[in-house]
Assembly symmetry: C2
C-alpha cells in the first residue's frame, strides 16, 4: 500500500465523516438552515477542518447530494438485473427503500425532502444522474409491456412518476410519523399494500 493510497484513504474517511454529520444537520435544519459551524460540531471537528476537506459550503452540499443519489441508483440498477418477474423487480426496489427508511431515516430524509427536487440540485449535473433512476425503471416497464404483461394503453412515463412519487410520499409519511409503522410487520404490510395497488393498476385483468 503506497503512501499516496493511505493518504487518500484517510481523506476519504474524513470526508465521509463530515458528510455523514452534514446529512444529520441537513435532516434537522434543511437546506436553508445548514451551517458549517453546525456540521463541524456534529462531526466533533473544528470549524476550519471542514474547509480543509471541502473547498466551500457549496462543495459540502454537492457531496451530500452525490452520496445520496448513488445509493439510490444502485438499488434500482440491482433490481433490474437480479429479479425475474415484474412483481419481483418492483418488489425488491420497494423493499430496499422501505428498509433504508427504517435503518437510516436521516439519510432517506435528505434524499426525499431535499435532494430530489430542490432547485439548487436541479441546476447541477446531478439531475441527469437522478433521472437515470427514472429511466432505468421505465425501461423495466417497457420491457414487460412488450411481453404483454402490461396493458397496452399504459403510459409508462406516467407510471414511472407515479411509482416514485407514491413511494416517496409514503416513506415521508412514515419518517414524519404521520403513518404509524413502528413494528416490522406493519412495515412489511405497508410495503406490500403499496406494491399490490401499484401492480394491479398496471397488469391487465386476466
Amino acid at each position: 500500500m503506497s503512501k499516496i493510497y493511505v493518504k487518500k484513504e484517510k481523506t476519504d474517511k474524513m470526508q465521509d465523516l463530515i458528510i455523514k454529520a452534514a446529512i444529520k444537520v441537513y435532516a434537522a435544519k434543511g437546506m436553508h438552515g445548514i451551517r458549517i459551524a453546525d456540521i463541524a460540531k456534529e462531526a466533533q471537528v473544528s470549524y476550519g477542518l471542514v474547509y480543509h476537506y471541502f473547498k466551500n459550503k457549496e462543495d459540502v452540499l454537492n457531496a451530500i447530494f452525490s452520496k445520496s443519489i448513488n445509493i439510490f441508483l444502485r438499488a434500482i440498477e440491482n433490481a433490474s438485473v437480479q429479479d425475474k418477474t415484474l412483481k419481483e423487480k418492483l418488489g425488491s426496489i420497494t423493499t430496499f427503500l422501505f428498509n433504508a427508511c427504517r435503518e437510516f431515516p436521516e439519510f432517506m430524509y435528505v434524499i426525499m425532502f431535499e435532494v430530489i427536487w430542490t432547485p439548487k440540485f436541479l441546476e447541477t449535473r446531478n439531475f441527469v444522474t437522478f433521472t437515470r433512476a427514472f429511466t432505468i425503471f421505465e425501461k423495466i416497464l417497457i420491457e414487460y409491456q412488450k411481453k404483454g404483461e402490461l396493458k397496452g394503453d399504459i403510459n409508462t412515463t406516467v407510471s414511472t412518476y407515479m411509482f416514485f412519487g407514491g413511494l416517496e410520499m409514503i416513506l415521508t409519511g412514515i419518517v414524519l410519523k404521520a403513518i404509524p409503522a413502528e413494528k416490522h410487520e406493519t412495515f412489511h404490510n405497508l410495503s406490500s399494500n403499496f406494491i399490490n395497488q401499484y401492480i394491479n393498476g398496471l397488469t391487465a385483468a386476466r
Copy 2:
C-alpha cells in the same frame, strides 16, 4: 364603505402584491436563497416597505404557505361535495391541479417543492391544515369502500399517499419539462392516464 374597510383593502392588496412577488422569488431560488431585497425588487417596492406590511421574513414565508395551502384545500373540499361517482371526484381534483400547474406554474412550484414537506413548514400549525387535505381525501375513499366500490383489502392511507405523491411527482415533471406537455391535449391525456391507472388499481374487477 367605511374608512377602515378601505384601509384594510389597501393593506390586503399590498400584502398580496408582495406575497406574489415572494412566490416568484421562492420558485426561482428556493427557501434557502430567498432574500427580502429580492422580494422588494420583484415587487418593485422599497426594501423597508416589506417590513411595513410584514413583521419579519418569517412572517412573509408563513403568508406564502397559508396562501398556497388554502387554494389547495379548497379544490379538494369542493370535489368532495360536488361530484357523485368516485371517478368524478378524483377526476376533478386531478384536473384542478393539472390546470393550476399550467396556469400558475410558479405557484404550484411553491406548493409542490417547498410547502408540502419542508421542515420549517412542518414545525408550524400549517402542517395540520395540510394533512387535512389528506384526511378529506381518505374519507372519500373510505366512503366508497363501504359502498363496496373499492376492494376490501385496500389500505386507504397508503392509497391516499399514493395519490398525492404520484400526482405531485408528475406535475413536478411537467413543471421541470422532464415530461413534455406543451399542448392542451397532452395535458388532458396525462391527466386521464394518471386517473385511470390510479382507479383501476383501486376498483375491484367486475
